[in-house]
C-alpha cells in the first residue's frame, strides 16, 4: 500500500516517485494545494475503500502522515 500511495502522490504532485521520501512535506516540498491534498485523499479512498475524515486533513503534513492516518483510521 505504501508504494501505491506514493504513486498517487507522485501523480497528483507531478514529482517523480523516486524523489518521494517519508519525510517529504506535501506543501513545502511538493507544492501541493488544499485541492491537491483532497485529490490525493479521494484517490486513496477510491483505491482502497478506506476513509480519511475531514478533521484529520490538518495532520497531513508529510508522506508518512498520510500512511499513518490511513492505518489509524482503518486499522490496517
Amino acid at each position: 500500500m505504501e508504494e501505491k500511495i506514493k504513486e498517487i502522490l507522485s501523480e497528483v504532485s507531478g514529482v517523480p516517485l523516486t524523489e518521494l521520501r517519508d519525510d517529504t512535506r506535501l506543501v513545502g516540498d511538493l507544492g501541493m494545494s488544499s485541492f491537491d491534498l483532497a485529490d490525493t485523499v479521494v484517490s486513496v479512498e477510491e483505491t482502497y475503500g478506506v476513509k480519511i475524515p475531514d478533521e484529520r486533513f490538518g495532520e497531513l503534513e508529510t508522506v508518512a502522515d498520510i500512511l499513518r492516518v490511513i492505518r489509524e483510521e482503518n486499522a490496517l
Binding site: 501523480e11 485523499v41 486533513f57
Partner: protein, 310 residues
C-alpha cells in the same frame, strides 16, 4: 460578443487579436459568476505562439465586475520562453487596471529562457509571480503545452466555461470544457437541507446539503454534505470537486498533474455563491461580498489585492 456558453474560437486568429476576451460579456444577472478560461498553442515558423486567458464576470447585487487577463508568449523551437506579454487591457481582481507592465518585467526576468514545460521548477505558487491570476494562467499554459507534447502534437486549444447561479433552495453550476475538439459537460446541483450558518467574514460555517452531479447529461454522483465548521465545509467541497476533476480527467484521457481546469477554483466560487444567498443586508451586501472575495484570494488578516503596485 455575448458570452452564454462556450464560444466558437478560431485558434488561427487568437494570437493576432485578443479582443475575443476583452469584448466578451455576460449581462445575464441570474448568473452570479461566469468564468471563461482557455489556452491556444500554435506552431509558428520560429517555434510556438501560446495564448492563455481567463475572464471572470460577477453579478452580485450591487457588485458587477469583469476581470479579464490575457497572457501571450512566444517560444523557440525547443519550447523555451522567448517573450512574455500581458495584454494591457487586462484587469486585476477589483476590476481595475493593474500594473501589468511591471508584472510582465518581473515575470520576464524570472522566466525568459525557461522551457515552458518546466515552468513549475521556477514558479510553484502565486507569490512567485506576484499575482494569483497570472500564476493560474501560466500554470495552465505550461500544463497544456506538456499535454500536447506528450501526445506528439505541436498545436491545439482548450477552453472552459462555467456559470453559477442560485436556485430556490440551493445553487447550480454548469460547466463545459473543450480539449482538442473533445467536449464534456458537468452540472453540479447543490440543494440545502437546512440553511448554512454564516460566521466570520460571512463565510459558511455549516453545510447540510444534497449534491447531484450530472456528467454529460447522466447522473453520476449523489452525495450528502454535512459540515459543522468552515474547515470542514471547505474540505467537503474540495472532495466534491476532486471527484468531478477525476471524472473529467478520465473522460479526456489525462493523467498526472493537469492545471488547465477550473476545478480548484470551484470551491471558492461555491462559497461565494452560498454567502451571497444568505448574507444579510441589502445596502451593504456588495461590500460584504467584496470582503469574502478578498478572503478567498488572500486569507484572513491580509490586505486585499489592490492590483500590483496599487
Amino acid at each position: 460578443m455575448i458570452l452564454n456558453g462556450l464560444p466558437h474560437l478560431d485558434p488561427a486568429s487568437v494570437k493576432f487579436d485578443h479582443s475575443f476576451v476583452f469584448d466578451a460579456h455576460n449581462h445575464d444577472r441570474k448568473q452570479l459568476i461566469t468564468r471563461w478560461r482557455g489556452t491556444v498553442v500554435e506552431r509558428t515558423h520560429l517555434g510556438y505562439a501560446v495564448t492563455g486567458w481567463q475572464k471572470s464576470i460577477y453579478h452580485f447585487g450591487g457588485l458587477n465586475r469583469e476581470v479579464p487577463i490575457l497572457v501571450s508568449m512566444l517560444l523557440d523551437e525547443t519550447g523555451r520562453i522567448r517573450s512574455l506579454k500581458i495584454d494591457e487591457r487586462s484587469k486585476g481582481s477589483q476590476g481595475r487596471r493593474c500594473d501589468f507592465a511591471c508584472l510582465e518585467t518581473l515575470c520576464g526576468e524570472k522566466l525568459l529562457g525557461t522551457p515552458l514545460a518546466e515552468l513549475g521548477s521556477r514558479v510553484s505558487s502565486a507569490p512567485d509571480v506576484k499575482c494569483l491570476h497570472l500564476f493560474e494562467i501560466l500554470s495552465a499554459c505550461a500544463s497544456f503545452f506538456g499535454t500536447l507534447a506528450a501526445r506528439g502534437l505541436t498545436e491545439g486549444s482548450e477552453q472552459e466555461y462555467i456559470e453559477i447561479r442560485p436556485e430556490r433552495d440551493g445553487l447550480v453550476s454548469d460547466s463545459t470544457h473543450e480539449i482538442l475538439g473533445q467536449r464534456d459537460q458537468t452540472q453540479v446541483r447543490l440543494e440545502y437541507r437546512t440553511s448554512p450558518r454564516l460566521g466570520r467574514e460571512n463565510l459558511a460555517e455549516s453545510l447540510d446539503a444534497a449534491v447531484t452531479v450530472q456528467y454529460n447529461g447522466e447522473e453520476t454522483l449523489t452525495e450528502e454534505l454535512h459540515a459543522s465548521d468552515f474547515e470542514s465545509v471547505y474540505a467537503q467541497l474540495n472532495r466534491l470537486f476532486s471527484k468531478c476533476h477525476h471524472r473529467e480527467k478520465a473522460f479526456f484521457g489525462l493523467k498526472g498533474r493537469v492545471r488547465f481546469f477550473n476545478s480548484p477554483s470551484m470551491v471558492g466560487l461555491f462559497l461565494l455563491t452560498i454567502s451571497h444567498s444568505f448574507v444579510p443586508g441589502l445596502v451593504s451586501r456588495a461590500w460584504r461580498i467584496e470582503k469574502i472575495l478578498h478572503y478567498l484570494q488572500t486569507g484572513y488578516g491580509k490586505n486585499p489585492c489592490k492590483g500590483f503596485g496599487g
